[in-house]
Each structure stands twice: as structure tokens, then as C-alpha cells.
């Protein structure tokens, strides 16, 4: 069940009205939201609801045991157990096939080829997100940064809450558990902001991302050797816009849906292509993942406490593992290594030149954007051969432009230009509209929804980040 579908609209209306009719008893309301979330998840594959429940029960049990123990050694052992369990779940479903395949190839190279136990493991949708949430909960309880949840219901809802379940944002226990403790309030600010985020996300996903995907990016990346440089450049820029509009649309809609149910999620994107450096890019792109990697990987590795070499190594390892988180493929590792490597160069540059401005800010934005686009080629290509084909195609100047149309060019330019809107434009509009009568707001939103619905294609492709 995808957000931009009528089926989800009907589901959400039912959840909205039922949950608010249960607001006098918070426990019953949470139980209803949990059941609704399981129903939502079961639309993909009902068997994995069991995995979700098992994961929540084990994380709850481990965190409760950590909270009850005062023995430092025992607490460490328990947190290690909790993290290992989550990584085991993630590793089996996401990386088993990849590592077995690599091991088989390696053994064959040494002449020790064996029939390794290959399994067709179905990847549960959103597994990377809910296992990361489980890890953050257990580690935060161990670090005493968040109190242990009052009930198993809270942990289950934390990990299963349908707005963030399948593609984030990764909402931490310290953000969500305190909200579960009290009956939520719905203010006009939250409602207006939530509705605007939903319609904005719908526009980005169903109009910009879908159009670019179907009419430009997918055909060009399917057969890169058939297109010239202008088409290729447009496809690479188009993919940069597509992935931003796709993923940020999901986050916007998730935040908006949660807001209408009375819960507040953290911001996940902040105009990433405005970044003047790779470090700045990661403070603006998928913020919940980058802050997760910082707190649970980079800092435990030593962070920046032990000098330039150590911090550079740590950031590189963090980014490579962040790349691997996106998918079990060498292209994702290379993508992570590219981002990590550029950040290492930036650190060395800062160590050498201090805070002096070495390059003009506009040039910094342009360089960063094009490095990010280079990374997107690795990210989008199915293998290195295809990525090389795209890079070679960028130099094929003699071939005519066949794919790019005025509309597609407008969408690409528009998708990039939206990064130069005022940083909190939606919040500003929501602030103005919150005092409007409900009829006025409904009419304005209705016109906006109608415009989007009129131009969107009939079907809708799954969000890119569902596969992660």
C-alpha cells in the first residue's frame, strides 16, 4: 500500500477518524495504531509482520534487562547482544545472498569452488529502517539517553508505526516514546502543516519523480550506449532530481501523516543540493540516517577525538558502511567510498587552510552537486559496467538529443530550483493558513490536490528507498 494511492487514502481516513475517536484512552489508541500499522505492513507480505513483532519483543526485552542492571559489564554484554541480534536479522535478509555469492567467487578463484547454500531470501520492506530503530533504542537505553519504554506496546508501536515503517525517517526512541506517554494533541499548526506536506510530497513524487523516471531516467539507464551526451547529462541531473523528489516526498508525507495523527517526526531533508561541501550535504540529505551513523557508528569508532588521521579514517569507514546499508552491491560500497573520500579531502583541506575560504561558495555548491551526481550514477547503475557506459556516454557529443523535451527540462530545472525557495516555506504558508476557515483551507487544498491528480500518471512506481 503506497502513500499516493486511493487505497491508502481510504485506509488513512479510517485510521484518522477512529484513532481520534479513541483519544480519551491513550492505551487503546496506541493499540489501534499498532494494529493498523501491522495491517499496513501486511499489505506487502503478511509473513513479515511476525518478524516485526519478534524484533520488537527482543529489543524490548534486552532494553528492559539493561535498564534493570547496574552491573556495567552485564549492561555492555546485553547491549552487544541486542545490537548483534538486530545486525543478524539485517544481515540475513539483506546481505546473505551477496556474501555467499562473493564467497563462492572467491573460493572459485583459488580453485576451491563449492556449492554454497544459496537461498532466495525475500527482502522484507523497510527492514533497514526498523532494525536501525531497534539498535538506537537499545543503545540509547544503555547510554541512559532515553528511559526504558513503559510497555511492550510502546516499543512495538515505535518500531511499527506505519508512517515511518517502510522508508523512514528513522525516528529515535527519545523522540517518539515521550510522545506515546501522553494523549496526543492536534493543533491547527500541525494539521495545516501536515496537510501541506502531504500535497507537496504528492506533487514531488507523482508528478516530478514519476515523470522523470518513466520518460527519461529509466530508458537512458536501461541502455546508456544508445544515447548521446545531452540525453545522458539530462538523465544524470534528472536522476538527481528524481531521487530527491522521490525520497523527500516520502519523508514529507510521513511527517504530514504523523502530524495529522498528533505525532511529531524530525525533519529528514533540508534542501541538500544547496550544500557547499560534502559534509554540509550530509547534514541536509537523509538527516535521520546521517545523524544515526554519526551517533552509533562514527562516535563509537572514535569520532574526531584522536586527530586528523583517525577522524578521516572513521568518517571513511562510516560512509562506506552507510553505502552498504543502502544495498548489498559493490556499486553502493563505491558510492559510500566516494562520499567518504571527498569528506576526507575536505577535512585535510580544513586542517591545512583553517577557516579561510579557499573557493567561492557558488563554486563550492556546483562542485559538491556534481560530485553528488557522480555518486548517483554509481547508485543508480546496476553494476560498474553500466556506470562506465553512462560515463562514456557523457562524452558522446555527436549524437542528437532525443529524450529531453521542454517539459522534462522544466521539471529538472524546477526540481533544482526548489532548493532555493525560502528554507521554511511550507511552515510559513501553514502559519498563514492556520487561521483560515476550514472551508477555505479545504478549497485551497482541494484545488492543489486536483492539479496533482490531473497530471499524474494513473499508476505509481514504488518509492526508491523501499528496496533499502
Amino acid at each position: 500500500m503506497l502513500f499516493p494511492t486511493l487505497a491508502f487514502g481510504v485506509f488513512f481516513l479510517f485510521v484518522y477518524f477512529t484513532s481520534w475517536s479513541l483519544d480519551r484512552e491513550n492505551g487503546r489508541r496506541k493499540l489501534f495504531l499498532l494494529l493498523a500499522s501491522w495491517f499496513f505492513y501486511a499489505q506487502w507480505d503478511w509473513r513479515f509482520v511476525g518478524l516485526l513483532i519478534l524484533s520488537a519483543v527482543l529489543n524490548w526485552g534486552v532494553a528492559a534487562a539493561i535498564a534493570r542492571s547496574d552491573d556495567g559489564g552485564r549492561r555492555k554484554w546485553l547491549v552487544g547482544l541486542g545490537v548483534a541480534f538486530n545486525l543478524l536479522v539485517l544481515g540475513f535478509f539483506k546481505y546473505y545472498g551477496f556474501f555467499i555469492e562473493q564467497a563462492g567467487e572467491l573460493l572459485s578463484q583459488f580453485g576451491w569452488g563449492r556449492d554454497l547454500p544459496l537461498l532466495q531470501v525475500i527482502l522484507p520492506v523497510g527492514i533497514s529502517f526498523f532494525t536501525f530503530q531497534g539498535i538506537s533504542y537499545v543503545v540509547d537505553v544503555h547510554r541512559r539517553k532515553t528511559p526504558v519504554a513503559r510497555s511492550l506496546l510502546d516499543v512495538m508501536l515505535l518500531m511499527s508505526f506505519f508512517p515511518h515503517l517502510v522508508a523512514g525517517p528513522i525516528v529515535r526512541a527519545s523522540d517518539l516514546l515521550p510522545q506515546f506517554d501522553r494523549t496526543p494533541r492536534l493543533t491547527r499548526e500541525m494539521a495545516t502543516h501536515g496537510l501541506l506536506l502531504i500535497v507537496w510530497g504528492l506533487f514531488k513524487k507523482t508528478v516530478i519523480a514519476s515523470e522523470l523516471s518513466v520518460r527519461l531516467v529509466d530508458p537512458v539507464f536501461f541502455d546508456p550506449s544508445a544515447y548521446g551526451s545531452l540525453d545522458m547529462i539530462a538523465a544524470v541531473y534528472g536522476y538527481a532530481v528524481q531521487i530527491y523528489c522521490d525520497f523527500s516526498a516520502y519523508s514529507d508525507m510521513a511527517i504530514g501523516i504523523a502530524a495529522l495523527l498528533g505525532y511529531s517526526f524530525p525533519r529528514n531533508f533540508d534542501q541538500p543540493y544547496r550544500a557547499g561541501s560534502m559534509q554540509s550535504f550530509w547534514r541536509r540529505w537523509h538527516i535521520s540516517l546521517s545523524s544515526w551513523l554519526r551517533d552509533y557508528l562514527y562516535v563509537p569508532l572514535g569520532g574526531g577525538r584522536k586527530g586528523l588521521v583517525s577522524s578521516s579514517l572513521n568518517v571513511f569507514i562510516t560512509m562506506v558502511l552507510g553505502g552498504l546499508w543502502h544495498g548489498a552491491a559493490w556499486t553502493f560500497l563505491a558510492w559510500g567510498a566516494l562520499h567518504g573520500g571527498v569528506q576526507v579531502v575536505e577535512r585535510i583541506g580544513r586542517a591545512a587552510f583553517g577557516d579561510r575560504r579557499v573557493i567561492h561558495p557558488v563554486l563550492g555548491v556546483l562542485i559538491t552537486f556534481h560530485i553528488v551526481c557522480l555518486g548517483w550514477i554509481l547508485f543508480r547503475a546496476e553494476n560498474f559496467d553500466m556506470a562506465m557506459q553512462v560515463l562514456i556516454g557523457l562524452g558522446r557529443w555527436w549524437q542528437p538529443m532525443v529524450m529531453v523535451t521542454p517539459l522534462l527540462l522544466t521539471l529538472i530545472v524546477g526540481g533544482l530550483a526548489m532548493h532555493w525557495l525560502p528554507p521554511r516555506a511550507i511552515e510559513g504558508v501553514a502559519e498563514r493558513l492556520k487561521t483560515a476557515p476550514s472551508v477555505t483551507l479545504a478549497l485551497l487544498l482541494g484545488v492543489a490536490f486536483l492539479l496533482v491528480e490531473a497530471v499524474r500518471p494513473d499508476g505509481v512506481a514504488p518509492f526508491i528507498y523501499f528496496q533499502f
Binding site: A191, L195, A442, D458
Partner: protein
């Protein structure tokens, strides 16, 4: 019994009532006797010197013009009597009001979309797997779409879609035209 008590001592009851020397009425212009108090004693006996003074008045400096009673329409009075104003809302009340406002917005938005975007409902119902429920929904959505189309409610959507598709078919100079 002596009479040398302090006249300002209010704790001591006076044996006899003392006439108030101040007149409650404004003095007459002709042949009037002005009572003026010597300095330091307001209750002293009057002297013959005429002293101009403001006439006493019922002016109240603390009053506000908005406090004065105004003529209220009888229907307004009846309304106020029949529907007395509610006490100011507490937090729960504000939350409930905001929730009602949001729910009203969502309901109106849904109705708006049902009327002006009936084609989406029709398309969606046609994409569902065949079955009793989906065929019923499909028939209902077909009837509904025809009804709103007769009222012309599908025109805005159609116009926007046609414009967008025309824009989609636009090509740069030198490019092959879009396949029809």
C-alpha cells in the same frame, strides 16, 4: 463629662449628631453664602470671604464610556438569554476545537475530490483484482462519474490534463514529434 475629645477620632462615638456643614447642592448665584474652609481644617466654620470653586458634581474619574448601558435589541437580549456565552476554553477545549476544524477540513476536502476527481476513483476501481467487492465498487464509481460529468464537474480535471499532455508532447526544434 468633658467635651475636649479629638473630633477626628473615629473610634469614639459622638454623643450627638453633628450637622454636616457642606451643602449637597450647588450654591445659588444670587445672595449666596460661600462656605470656605480655612487652611488645615476642612470642617471649620464658614467665613464670609467668597472663594470661587467648582460646583460639586457626580463625575467619576474611574468610569469608562463603554461601561455605560447601551440600548440592546430585544432579539439580542433574547439570544443572550437563550444561548448564554460559553466560558473561555481550557486546553482540552482548544484541542477539541482544533480537532473538529481539522476533521471538517478533511471531510470537505474528501467531498471536493469525490466530486471533481471522480475519474481517479473510476480508474482505481478498474485496476482492482476482479471480485464481488471490486465489481460493486466499479459499478458505483461508474455511475458516480457519469453523474458528476453531467454536471460538468469533470471539466476542470480534463482541461488541466489536456493542457499537461499538450505540454508533454512539445518538442525542441529539430526533434521528432511525439508519437501519437
Amino acid at each position: 463629662m468633658t467635651d475636649d475629645h479629638d473630633p477626628h477620632d473615629e473610634t469614639r462615638p459622638d454623643p450627638f449628631p453633628v450637622p454636616d456643614p457642606a451643602s449637597p447642592f450647588p450654591p445659588l448665584e444670587e445672595g449666596r453664602t460661600v462656605w470656605a474652609a480655612p487652611a488645615g481644617d476642612a470642617d471649620a466654620a464658614p467665613v464670609g470671604e467668597p472663594v470661587p470653586s467648582d460646583p460639586p458634581s457626580d463625575w467619576n474619574a474611574g468610569a469608562d464610556a463603554h461601561d455605560l448601558p447601551t440600548l440592546e435589541h430585544r432579539l439580542s437580549a433574547l439570544h443572550r438569554f437563550a444561548f448564554p456565552p460559553a466560558p473561555p476554553l481550557d486546553d482540552e477545549g482548544v484541542a477539541a476545537r482544533d480537532r473538529r476544524w481539522t476533521s471538517r477540513t478533511i471531510v470537505l476536502l474528501t467531498l471536493f475530490m469525490l466530486v471533481f476527481n471522480a475519474a481517479s476513483l473510476q480508474n482505481w476501481s478498474r485496476q482492482q483484482a476482479p471480485g464481488w467487492l471490486s465489481s460493486t465498487v466499479q459499478q458505483l464509481s461508474d455511475v458516480w462519474s457519469e453523474q458528476v460529468a453531467q454536471l460538468g464537474a469533470d471539466q476542470p480535471r480534463t482541461a488541466v490534463r489536456d493542457t499537461y499532455e499538450a505540454a508533454r508532447d512539445e518538442r525542441f526544434i529539430g526533434q521528432d514529434p511525439a508519437a501519437s
